[in-house]
Amino acid sequence: MLIQRKPKLTYADVTPKELYFNRRKFLKAMGIAGAAAFAGKNLLDIVSPPGGVHAGAKFTNLIKSPFSTTEKTNSFEDVTHYNNFYEFGIDKDAPAKNAQKFRTSPWTVSVEGEVKTKRKFTMDEVLKLAPLEERIYRHRCVEGWSIVVPWVGFSFNVLAKLVEPTPKAQFVAFESDWDLGQMPNAKPALAGIEFPYVEGLRMDEAMHPLTLLSVGMYGDSLPNQDGAPVRMVIPWKYGFKSIKSIVKIKFVAKEPPTTWNLANSHEYGFYSNVNPNVDHPRWSQAKERRLGEIYRRNTLMFNGYQDQVASLYTGMDLKKYY
């Protein structure tokens, strides 16, 4: 008997990103070629602008992480065209449209606060802090949808250990870039939240090996709309904890303010661990819709990372500390 196995497709089998980006560039160039010729500009500059629109060569030799899930990853197209990044608009497809011209180079991340060595890292330095890993994580939004993303990065604790936090450091505060010139939508009146976007973790959460400092996804640099050039990924917490486009990391003694908690403390707590048993005041968190699926699936405790992280919260009332 002949048993035919379905070929196992991975995201690598999808049309390579450069190909379709090039196709778009090509189509765009077709449209402006006439105008450019008229203006006497070099066509090549438009087809392949200096500096590169899609910066970042593909990462090679990524280490496969044991933390990766074997679940099917979502398509690059879905992940990059359906997300929240309020600095670039409140609709799910707004970041993909409005973040295209966001400048992510040069970029520095300032590390300050209760550390022995305060430091400013350039992106080149960040990229060389540790061998880059590929980590395929489940990602659960507080709104009730989820995705599976192959991130690129390394444990945040690598950076933390390097700057040597003092015993006073009990929490880590993060801050996103806020540049109204590049982010005209990043106003409280439009977005309903304050800027710059701030987030925070307890020290033990930040030092947990699952907590990822991410510099890429799908084997490439982070697309602008997904938090380029460097962001956090905390897979057992709701997505809004995974702060994007980080410019400042501060080690502090007290629990730092967090954006969604400031906007609505009744609905969004500091911890915001994925928890199917603790509902959002307005909707249930028991289920989620994985992008690409019709029916909703059960949400897992700590988003399925219970074995790794449950011990961080032993003895804590997770209903009280939501």
Binding site: D78, V79, H81, Y82, I90, W145, R289, L291, R296
Partner: protein
């Protein structure tokens, strides 16, 4: 304009216009243009159009009085029924993809979550209105009672707006826009009613005075 409104064929393009949002959705579905979360896309689109058709329906009375176009009334039932039609589609996305047709889970959800409770109320209130929308039912109920019953659309519209307001995370601008429009449409009715009542009372007082002096 008035003759166009009175023409029996005018209902055809209006009907097609009302069907257009569904057409767009079907077209997007066939061409795989519903985005990364098609269920949510359909859910939001049908919810939006329910609210819009409720607003259209509620606009008829003020418009026909302000613009002195009594024939506009011919389109009210169709617009109202389309509000109900899109509400049904909206409810189906909740019944199926969201709740997997689990009636007990739905019942718990309706009872527990205010945002679902008001949305469900808005939907349920439209059911008797759709059923009694025929000429036969107007006759059976009598104009006055029929009108009383159909004022339930006011509550349905208010519940619909609250449902939307409670759904969004922080960007309340869009639900507030609907709230403002519905408020204007309902306040106009209140004003209209007060003015008419004032007139009736004035007339009544005049008649009384006339009879007393006579």
């Amino acid at each position: 304009m008035p003759s166009l409104l009175a023409n029996k064929w005018t209902k055809v393009p209006v009907f097609l216009f009302c069907l257009a949002p569904l057409g767009v959705l079907v077209w997007c579905a066939l061409t795989a243009n519903l985005g990364a979360n098609p269920v949510e896309f359909i859910q939001h689109a049908t919810g939006d159009w329910t609210l819009r058709f409720l607003v259209f329906t509620l606009s008829i009375t003020p418009l026909r009085k302000l613009l002195k176009l009594p024939d506009l009334i011919r389109f009210r039932r169709m617009l109202g029924l389309f509000a109900f039609f899109y509400a049904c589609l909206h409810f189906l996305t909740y019944l199926g993809p969201d709740q997997s047709f689990d009636l007990s889970a739905i019942w718990r959800d309706v009872a527990k979550r205010p945002f679902i409770t008001v949305g469900f109320t808005a939907f349920v209130l439209l059911i008797p209105l759709a059923i009694t929308s025929t000429a036969g039912w107007i006759r059976r109920l009598g104009g006055r009672r029929w009108q009383m019953l159909h004022r339930a659309i006011y509550i349905s519209a208010i519940c619909g707006v609250i449902h939307y307001y409670w759904l969004v995370k922080s960007a309340v601008l869009r639900p507030l826009t609907y709230a403002a429009i519905v408020a204007v449409l309902l306040l106009w009715r209140l004003g209209d009613w007060l003015i008419r009542r004032g007139r009736t009372m004035a007339t009544a007082a005049k008649t009384q005075r006339a009879s007393a002096s006579g």
